[in-house]
Subunit: 246 residues, 2 copies
């Protein structure tokens, strides 16, 4: 039988600035144990990595200016959103759903205007969230704990209102758990089922993080996982030819 | 600061049959407390409610026969899937994404061939999962505990591989938590953010339920929620005119 899990909020972190040692800051605020999974909101990873764009330095294209004017948006922010994307998936009314450089599909390329600390700046997603996760996991190992790391962000989705936290970077554990070839209690073989545990862990972490509180990190304790040095979010990103909603 | 949460697996339930008192069976296996959230896999709700279709009694339409033959499916199962749907969202190769009578978009209308106990039968989703949740919540109240109830199912999603558990029925707590009008720690007002906590709770529950183990129920303890007698999944179902991926 699976274990009971605990989900612990990690509060008390300082305001994160470029160059901050995130893992050390987290390590100082929570009593981590081997096997814990540390879930970090991408916002503070972006801050620590300096993924900050000064809007004064942005020269919007004609396309960005035209659309921004139509929907009363800041054309410089629109330019940043477009620059972070490789493809526009939907552009309907004021809504812009893009595919990011990493292959994630989300609103506004994950560009965050809300919490960049000062006006006139926006945060963009980490350049390589898997690498960010690996770096933090390695730093936790230096500090003496063998933990998995998941970088999370808050995404909307089709058909259902409300956003949920999903994984955008991972280190240590595989994001997908496959049941294919296994059998249920009645002997029926699973043919298609594969669970995205990374997204389930991310969703669980949001329940203690909240968005108005200063809790950008959570720890899941008690979940059993196999160590995988080559873990990444790549297998979660659906190939274009398998995707029915491009 | 948010509380730490516990997620407890509930094992030891009997094989559920039509007419079983689910809440009483769960109550007998876990020490529930007021404020707990009980997450029940829809499969056992369907079994308890007799949402079982005998395939021998199904007469497939020409459309179901034609498509089933093309993709080596059982035409009777295809007929059940079509009968449970109000609209086909995508029909590409062997994949059939439908909108169910409830308004959920998922593969095969949520029809479950895997665990109906005997071959020649399939399970369909509960007719009214909110009503199922309300009934179980009321039964738990009779047994002496004030708990929220969430009925879950395992759905795929666009763009990302792997399935996750989502909520399909709810009682006691609102599925959405809105931050609109609130302010983040930097004083920035949230303009659009609304979190689907019901889906996050469902996702969290899957981490202890698993699919090959006999753990169809989980309990989330420590999550603070307001009692809402009129809670339902209706606000999660996106209106057609707001949906960009119909």
């Amino acid at each position: 039988m699976p274990n009971a899990l605990s989900i612990l909020p990690v509060a008390g972190l300082p305001e994160i600035e470029p160059g901050h040692d995130l893992a050390a800051a987290i390590f100082g605020q929570v009593d981590l144990a081997d096997g814990d999974i540390v879930l970090i909101t991408s916002k503070i990873v972006s801050k620590a990595e300096g993924c900050i764009v000064e809007l004064d330095e942005i020269e919007p294209s004609a396309f960005a200016r035209s659309w921004a004017t139509q929907w009363e948006k800041d054309p410089r922010v629109v330019e940043v959103v477009l620059g972070e994307s490789t493809r526009i998936v939907r552009q309907v009314g004021p809504v812009l759903i893009t595919e990011t450089r990493h292959g994630f599909v989300c609103a506004n390329s994950g560009v965050d205007q809300s919490s960049s600390g000062a006006h006139g700046r926006v945060l963009v997603l980490p350049a390589d969230p898997d690498a960010s996760a690996r770096r933090e996991r390695a730093r936790f190992a230096e500090l003496g704990v063998d933990v998995a790391v998941v970088i999370t962000d808050t995404f909307g989705r089709p058909w259902r209102e409300g956003q949920t936290d999903v994984a955008i970077g991972i280190a240590g554990l595989d994001p997908l758990h496959s049941y294919i070839g296994q059998h249920d209690p009645h002997g029926h073989e699973f043919r298609v089922q594969e669970i995205c545990v990374a997204d389930e862990l991310a969703a669980a972490s949001e329940l203690v993080k909240g968005n108005t509180s200063r809790v950008p990190v959570a720890v899941v304790r008690g979940y059993e996982w196999e160590r995988r040095a080559d873990a990444s979010m790549a297998p979660v990103i659906r190939d274009a030819e398998r995707d029915l909603f491009r």
